[in-house]
Amino acid sequence: MSTGAILMMLFAMLVLWGGLGLAIYNLTRRSKAPEEHYYRDL
């Protein structure tokens, strides 16, 4: 693989997978909303 291809692949991984990791961290650690478990299905 060329250097440019490797760099762009790493960039895409960093932004998309790293962003997903941060989003999950944000949701589990920083979320203000309580987890509610009271719904029932029909």
Partner: protein, 519 residues
């Protein structure tokens, strides 16, 4: 239990609901991650600048995809209803936009099931490589038995049986309800999909020629960034892959507890979808690199998308690769998992709308919607002309159904109902990411303009060059005809009055954080 929780429980018991935020997120990922992530994104990226495409893709995700996703969530979560009910509660005059989305979902469901049926059959074919040495002839000749374009009543049993199996499975899932059916399916299928596809990617990366394929995918062509077509492709890809603008996310958000961090959840769903696309790109192009090397061709000579990639290129790879049967089962199994969770979400839009409008039980609504959908699907797509009808309907409903309805939904919410600032306030009650003026400007002005540009571009292209080599009457009936029919039907259904027990006012907002009433 608080008063809010009490009313929410009542609402959940009546309409059905997800048992937790996690189930909702998995179901939403299941809807967003579909066949397009696997067979469309890699080729679109490759064709539009390779590694350089990542930049417009990320810009499109941030400026259009995520803001639109959050708007859909806000509408359904605030108004606690299916797409038509949520639009009606935002403003009675715009209910028909919700029905337009419902009609689009019905159309998609009837043909999408057929592709899942093909993938299901190909999962079995993979075991003994039933397609032989010429997968293309096998697909169109032996398997689909496709004749000349037109409409045929000649049934293909090899398609009819798996298609019937898909519909039976979907109807059972839908009848089981939001949590026990849709939620449980996502909880099982999404981890399975990620596991199967990860194993596939790892296997593909160890094939000879994989690096050649990845080089083709990621080598940046910076000059592509000066072309408007590349930016339009990025916005189109983000838009089509996120399942926004046709009622799914509105419907799913209405099944989530009122005090839920919807902005944080939306970010996870949006990035999961894009993260999976990247994984798919790596797996698909590693495999194509192997195929190119094995056949002594360049990657650009073997790169393809859609049906050609899945049902011609991959069988060729499976024929050549060591442990090819494993690759086949993982690849087609992934298509089945990804397709089923998306199909379930599409048909739920219709079932939920019918339930809300006519106050039906889940079982009744499932049968009223599901049986005709399955019937139409079996009649049109299990015949020797099924692949042609499917190709036309898919092309036109995507562009002049989903895309047009999406642009319309943003415009009417922003400029007719003037609902966007209120939706932002609602999302900020429990959201971990604050939606400020930037979001209002994006969904009211910027995103409709960008998607409107893509829509106009597509329209001009189809008006100037008729799609495919199909007869004009087929394009007229199944293409333009189906796209126009859903609009007309939407206006008619929106005229039917709601039942007396269905209030058209938005339910009260939950108390802000820290001010929850105590029981």
């Amino acid at each position: 239990m608080t008063a809010d929780a009490g009313s929410a429980t009542e609402d959940g018991a009546r309409r059905g609901a997800f048992s937790s935020r996690k189930v909702f997120i998995l179901a939403a990922i299941g809807s967003a991650v579909g066949l397009g992530n696997i067979w469309r994104f890699p080729y679109v990226a490759y064709e539009n600048g390779g590694g350089a495409f990542i930049l417009p893709y990320i810009v499109a995700l941030i400026t259009a995809g995520l803001p639109f996703l959050l708007m859909d969530y806000a509408l359904g979560h605030r108004n606690r209803g299916s797409a038509p009910l949520s639009f009606a509660r935002a403003d009675r005059r715009i209910e028909s936009v919700g029905w337009w989305q419902v009609g689009i979902c019905f159309m998609i469901a009837v043909y999408y099931a057929a592709v899942i049926a093909w993938a299901l059959q190909y999962t079995l074919f993979s075991v003994d490589k039933s397609w032989g040495d010429d997968p293309e002839s096998f697909l169109f000749g032996d398997f689909l038995q496709a004749g000349d374009p037109g409409v045929s009543a000649s049934v293909v049993m090899g398609v009819l049986v798996p298609l019937a199996v898909v519909w039976v499975a979907v109807l059972i899932i839908m009848a089981l309800g939001v949590q026990k059916g849709i939620g449980a399916t996502a909880v099982v299928f999404i981890p399975l999909l990620i596991l199967a596809f990860t194993v596939l990617v790892v296997r593909s990366l160890f094939l000879p020629g994989a690096a050649q394929g990845l080089d083709a995918l990621f080598s940046p062509n910076w000059s592509a960034l000066t072309q408007t077509s590349v930016w339009a492709a990025a916005f189109g890809q983000i838009f089509f892959s996120l399942s926004v603008g046709f009622g799914i996310m509105v419907t799913y958000a209405s099944y989530v507890a009122k005090r839920t961090d919807m902005t944080g959840s939306g970010l996870v769903v949006g990035l999961s979808n894009s993260g999976f696309e990247l994984l798919a790109g790596i797996g698909v192009f590693a495999a194509l690199g192997f195929m190119a090397q094995a056949s002594g061709l360049a990657v650009d000579e073997v790169a393809s998308e859609g049906l050609g990639l899945a049902f011609v290129a991959f069988p060729t790879i499976i024929n050549e690769a060591p442990a090819g049967a494993l690759i086949g089962v993982l690849f087609f199994g992934s298509l089945v998992f990804a397709g089923l969770t998306s199909l379930v979400s599409v048909i739920e839009v219709v079932i939920s709308a019918v339930r809300d409008k006519f106050e039906l039980t889940r079982l009744s609504a499932t049968l009223i919607v599901g049986v005709p959908a399955a019937g139409i699907s079996l009649i049109f797509f299990s015949t020797t002309s099924g692949v042609y009808v499917l190709d036309i309907v898919d092309h036109f409903i995507n562009r002049f159904g989903i895309l047009a309805a999406a642009v319309a939904s943003m415009i009417v919410l922003a400029w007719v109902a003037r609902a966007i600032p209120g939706l932002a306030r609602h999302m900020n009650l429990y959201g971990s990411i604050r939606l400020g003026r930037w979001w209002i400007v994006l969904v009211s002005v910027i995103t409709p303009l960008l998607l409107g540009f893509v829509l106009v571009r597509e329209f001009i292209e189809d008006a100037q060059t008729p799609y495919g080599d199909y007869p004009a009457w087929m394009l007229g009936v199944f293409g333009w005809g189906s796209a126009v029919a859903v609009v007309l039907i939407a206006f008619v259904v929106a005229r039917i009055p709601w039942r007396p027990n269905t209030p058209l006012e938005a339910p009260p907002e939950p108390a802000p954080l820290g001010e929850e009433p105590r029981s």
